[in-house]
């Protein structure tokens, strides 16, 4: 079932007074940020956890996602008595800058023209997404987040929070993350973007109002990306060379293998909930991410004097953001004698292992780290 984003009420929405100054030096007026919260902020406002979603994630971590009608993407992690226990913590998740679920982005209205931004929206970065979140916690009266947690693009944000706003983060938990987008990462994104712009319905990004969407291109982009989120083992175990009908080859070029039909389904459901222009901008933001760039490539300089506690997690079968990337970050943190924990979790599901409900090892590690951090922060005896 397709629900038009415009029909969904994305409240609450935080409206930024003044302009959001972007890394590109562009100043963005009238910026809004849609977010969801779970649990209660305590009296001294010290129990807030910011969850940063991945590239195509959204603010609906737990409960029912009003857009899809399905459970939130981390519904098995966030809630009363769960790993991110909403009886203890005040959990915040924002739709990132440039997203398409209520936060300012290419699909929202440019206040200067009264028309959708489309491709006139300025190119922004992961740091800009974080800065919008900083404005939000300012507005909520939170001086310091107890924790920032994110996987993939969200992990980049968790790193950026600690690197540029260390005093505002007690603990940072970058999961399946990297300190920079690699050439291979950028290459995959470019294939996705090329698929979108090659779609006849793309109209240079001005498809809104024309009654069309570059669905074929966006679906193809999603199919490529989805392959990178899983592992060879996951594909092999889930699909192998299975054929749906009577297990015989049909001698046709149409999708025939189970794996082809699965990817087709992934693409089709994705275009119902995501905007192609947002996808273009958000993949670009990830491509631009390089924490060490501001320090001439010296990653350890990024974390000089950082007081934030860190937990880095990688997964054995993740080849998109492999363990070596996390290890490089750990080494840079060790060079500063920072308070850092790191574990590589054995998991077959690839990059997306952080989303899997059965990833109990990961959840136990997360819970242990949060408990230890809560004791150190004085949130727990």
């Amino acid at each position: 079932m397709e629900i038009e984003a415009a029909t969904v009420d994305f409240e609450p929405i935080f409206a930024l007074d003044g302009k959001l100054k972007l890394q590109s030096q562009v100043e963005l007026a009238g910026t809004q940020c849609a977010y969801q919260t779970y649990g209660t902020l305590n009296a001294d406002r010290s129990n807030a956890i910011m969850i940063c979603h991945g590239l195509t994630g959204d603010q609906y971590v737990a409960g029912t996602n009003p857009l899809t009608g399905r459970a939130g993407w981390w519904d098995h992690v966030v809630g009363p008595g769960l790993v991110l226990d909403t009886d203890q913590y005040f959990v915040i998740c924002t739709n990132v800058l440039g997203g398409c679920l209520g936060t300012t982005g290419p699909s929202t209205i440019n206040p200067d023209t009264g028309q959708p931004w489309n491709m006139d929206f300025p190119v922004f970065t992961v740091a800009d997404m974080v800065d919008l979140q900083v404005h939000l916690i300012d507005a909520l009266g939170i001086d310091q987040l107890f924790a920032v947690i994110g996987a993939s693009m969200g992990g980049m944000m968790a790193l950026d929070w600690a690197a540029r706003h260390p005093e505002r983060v007690f603990a940072s938990i970058p999961v399946a993350a990297s300190w920079r987008h690699t050439a291979q990462n950028i290459a995959f994104h470019e294939v996705g973007r090329r698929a979108i712009t090659a779609d006849a319905d793309w109209h240079d990004g001005a498809y809104r109002g024309l009654g069309v969407k570059p669905e074929k291109g966006l679906a193809a982009a999603r199919m490529v990306a989805h392959i990178t989120y899983l592992s060879e083992t996951a594909f092999q175990e889930k699909f192998g060379r299975e054929l749906p009908r009577d297990s015989k080859l049909s001698f046709v070029l149409d999708p025939e293998f189970e794996v082809e039909r699965y990817l087709d389904h992934q693409g089709k459901t994705f275009v119902q909930r995501f905007d192609a222009a947002s996808y273009m901008y958000l993949t670009r933001a990830m491509d631009y991410f390089d924490l060490a760039a501001r320090h001439d490539g010296d990653l350890s300089a990024v974390f000089k004097g950082v007081g934030t506690r860190f937990l880095l997690v990688s997964f054995t079968s993740d080849w998109l953001f492999p363990t070596a990337e996390s290890r490089t970050i750990v080494r840079a943190l060790n060079a500063n004698a920072a308070d850092v924990s790191f574990i590589e979790i054995p998991a077959d599901y690839g990059h997306d292992s952080f989303l899997i409900e059965s990833a109990t090892d990961f959840h136990d590690v997360l819970e242990g780290f949060l408990d230890g951090s809560a004791r150190r922060r004085g949130l727990k005896p």
Partner: protein, 214 residues
Amino acid sequence: MSPSVPRRADLRLIAELVTPGGRVLDVGCGDGTLLETLETEKQVEGQGIEIRNNRVEACMRRGLTVIQGDADTDLPDFPDRAFDYVILSQALQNMHRPREVLDQLLRIGRRAIVSFPNLGHWRARLTLLWRGRMPIVETNGMPRSWYDTPNIHLCTIRDFLLMCETLGITVEEGHAVGRDGALRRLGAGTAWETLWTHQAVYVLTRSRRVPNGG
């Protein structure tokens, strides 16, 4: 957090040797028993390095700070004197490059506490002399044969003290831990001590770093 008293005698001794407060790095921290004891009993800020995934996970379940890593390769990352104590308990003999590791311990820590099995013990000598067999050194209570033991660099306490000397490392105090857990003070590593010591625990310092020492 209810601290468990370490079962291993050398760990109980190490926990006593550490002065309260300060930062401690436990290299090869296992399931975190010692770190947990040190954090609760000695109010230290603890950090561990452990190579085995399930042990790292056990530490994290306890809320300890631990890095899944390799002491043979990861110690050079840390800055000089980052820790008040660096502990290497029953792991020196597992290192590929024990000399470099020991050198690193005294670089990143003001003090190092190292415990290891003494291959000079009379039982080990008798095994080799009379039975003509490689002495079996227990690892975590498990006797392992020469072909599958992780103890690839065993030494005697004399060997160890000689290595400390070449690296410009000073022994502050030494203790012998008997098979029954009984403790004795160790001196200069005499022939007698080398013969009778089952496990040794040394507290080490170094006033200056000897470049490429030895």
